[in-house]
């Protein structure tokens, strides 16, 4: 029992650098913006009372609690304003400006859209919502953020330049959520007879609005569609376990990238695939992060884009407007 408690404590509470969480925040922030950019074209049709679903109908049909600001803002113009607010909150969250406040605002706004019309949501939207919920509890602005730069500028202590240590429990919850996604999808599929006899992919290829032109001709190859049926199950169950261990993580990530790129391309799922690949970022350790950064620096360090990206923090710390924003008026030390 003591050992179990010690392992629990180490897993959820042993301090670690906040940089991995910072990278993950940026990825989820960008993908939230991308997901709602795809929504923008049809925002009026999907989320206003002039669209395909009225608030009264949702209220009448679902006998459950649902919270959405869009129950009070129903006009097409109002919905567009709310979408603009969501983009503003999304940008603040991504760059880590007032991160705690922006993460709460972003979750509230995303949930408002999702609850208003869940008939148009797919699994990618659910991943975004569950991750943003957990980000509200995470110290997501502790690294790689405008907040972190402002803290550096305000603090006279040189130690403020070191990467901040945080308790990783919220990040661990995000990891567990990812494993639950893979595990439950395999469990649900394992109850279907078409997955037992290997012909599930035959029908998946045959659903014409889920397949790019020509994919349906793979229905001619029983060995191929059977192999792909079992390979999908294997990949999903393998990822949910192998992603936890450092030695097997690269294989799990490679398997996941292959699986999701395939699904993304041939089933036209533009958000879910790339989001699931992004969720692997929260499993990275500080050493893996350092190793990746070293590799990237060696490979792209001489490029203009990389140099520009590395100069941004220094330039921000030196900029008078940023120093005013951070509440510091004395000259800054070296960035």
């Amino acid at each position: 029992m003591k050992r179990l408690l010690r392992d629990w404590d180490r897993f959820f509470f042993q301090p670690q650098s906040a940089r991995v969480l910072g990278v993950y925040r940026i990825a989820i922030g960008l993908l939230t913006l991308y997901s709602f950019l795809l929504f923008a074209k049809d925002a009026t049709a999907f989320f206003s009372d002039q669209g395909v679903l009225r608030v009264e109908t949702v209220d009448r049909v679902y006998s459950r609690h649902w919270h959405t600001l869009l129950a009070y803002i129903r006009s097409p113009f109002g919905v567009k304003c709310m979408l603009a607010l969501l983009f503003a909150a999304g940008v603040c969250f991504t760059i880590g400006f007032q991160t705690r406040v922006s993460s709460i605002a972003l979750f509230v706004l995303v949930t408002s859209f999702h609850e208003r019309n869940n008939l148009v949501l797919n699994s990618g939207d659910t991943v975004i919502r569950t991750m943003l919920f957990l980000f509200m509890f995470a110290p997501a602005g502790a690294a790689l953020s405008v907040d972190a730069l402002r803290r550096r500028l305000r603090s006279p202590d040189p130690a403020a330049c070191n990467p901040m240590l945080v308790a990783p429990w919220a990040q661990r919850m995000m990891q567990l959520q990812v494993a639950i996604i893979y595990f439950t999808t395999v469990y649900a599929k394992s109850r279907g007879d078409l997955y037992h006899n290997g012909s599930a992919m035959y029908y998946v290829f045959g659903i014409v609005d889920f397949s790019v032109h020509g994919i349906e001709n793979l229905m001619n190859y029983p060995v191929l569609y059977s192999a792909l049926t079992f390979a999908t199950l294997f990949a999903e169950i393998a990822i949910s376990f192998l992603i936890w261990f450092r030695a097997t993580r690269p294989y799990a990530v490679a398997l996941g990238i292959l699986l999701h790129l395939w699904i993304m391309w041939c089933m036209v799922l533009p958000v879910f695939g790339v989001l699931m690949i992004a969720t692997y970022l929260c499993f990275f350790t500080e050493e893996e992060y350092e190793g990746t950064m070293t590799w990237l620096r060696q490979r792209f360090g001489q490029t203009r884009v990389w140099r520009l990206a590395e100069e941004i923090p220094g330039q921000l710390l030196a900029a008078p407007w940023f120093r005013r924003l951070a509440g510091r008026r004395t000259p800054a030390g070296p960035a």
Partner: protein, 223 residues
């Protein structure tokens, strides 16, 4: 829960956070377990007296009151953590479907309307319009007349012309089963003819219509 410079949590905070982690994932796991499952049914039936909005039979509007409520469903719904990861599970659908409507105008003319169909689009168009695929699938799965009424009103607003309003919208669901060709039935599996499924499922697919709603447009619907 604020980040501290050394990231160390106090014992009391650790206990509170641990309780939250256990509770959160107990709720999530109970929620995502596939139906039917006795464990899921039991977990979802666990109730406690909790405050909240509710409407009892005979009451005109919902009111705040303390009553016995299922803990897990309350937590999941209030935190918007509802989730379902059973895509193509337990089995993928075995029918191609789309939604369309016959739109009838006050001058007596009519036209056919279909919700955007991804199978008739190129990859980039499908990438942008894929939400309509989800909308179509959910409308067909849920089979709620209230949803189809809202869809009919929306189609009427979209299709109305100046001086020629839409008066009636008949919503149809079109079905075309995916044929199952067992290779053994086609002869020797190694020499059996190669079937052109693009033609079978796209160009030459036969869809049978089913009327799901015949809606007569009311004066206020087009505003």
């Amino acid at each position: 829960m604020e980040a501290s410079p050394n990231g160390v949590c106090s014992r009391r905070r650790k206990i509170l956070i641990s309780l939250f982690i256990i509770f959160h994932f107990s709720c999530i796991i109970a929620w995502v377990l596939p139906k039917p499952s006795p464990i899921k049914t039991w977990l979802l039936s666990l109730s406690l007296p909790l405050p909240g909005h509710s409407r009892d039979a005979g009451e005109a509007s919902s009111q705040w009151k303390i009553k016995s409520r299922p803990i897990i469903a309350e937590y999941i719904h209030h935190t918007a953590q509802w989730q379902d990861w059973a895509m193509f599970a337990p089995n993928p659908v075995q029918t191609n479907q789309y939604l369309g409507a016959h739109v009838i105008y006050e001058r007596g003319n009519w036209k056919e309307y279909t919700l955007p169909r991804l199978d008739q689009m190129n990859w980039v168009e499908a990438w942008l319009e894929k939400r309509y695929r989800k909308l179509k699938n959910r409308l067909i799965d849920e089979k709620r007349p209230e949803f189809f009424e809202d869809l009919a009103r929306w189609i009427a607003r979209q299709q109305s012309e100046s001086g020629n309003r839409v008066t009636r919208v008949s919503v149809f669901m079109y079905n075309s089963p995916i044929p199952r060709h067992d290779r053994k039935d086609l002869g020797d599996p190694h020499t059996a003819a190669w079937l052109n499924y693009s033609e079978i499922l796209r160009e030459k697919a036969v869809y049978s219509p089913t009327l799901v709603l015949d809606y007569f447009v009311k004066p206020g619907d087009l505003e």
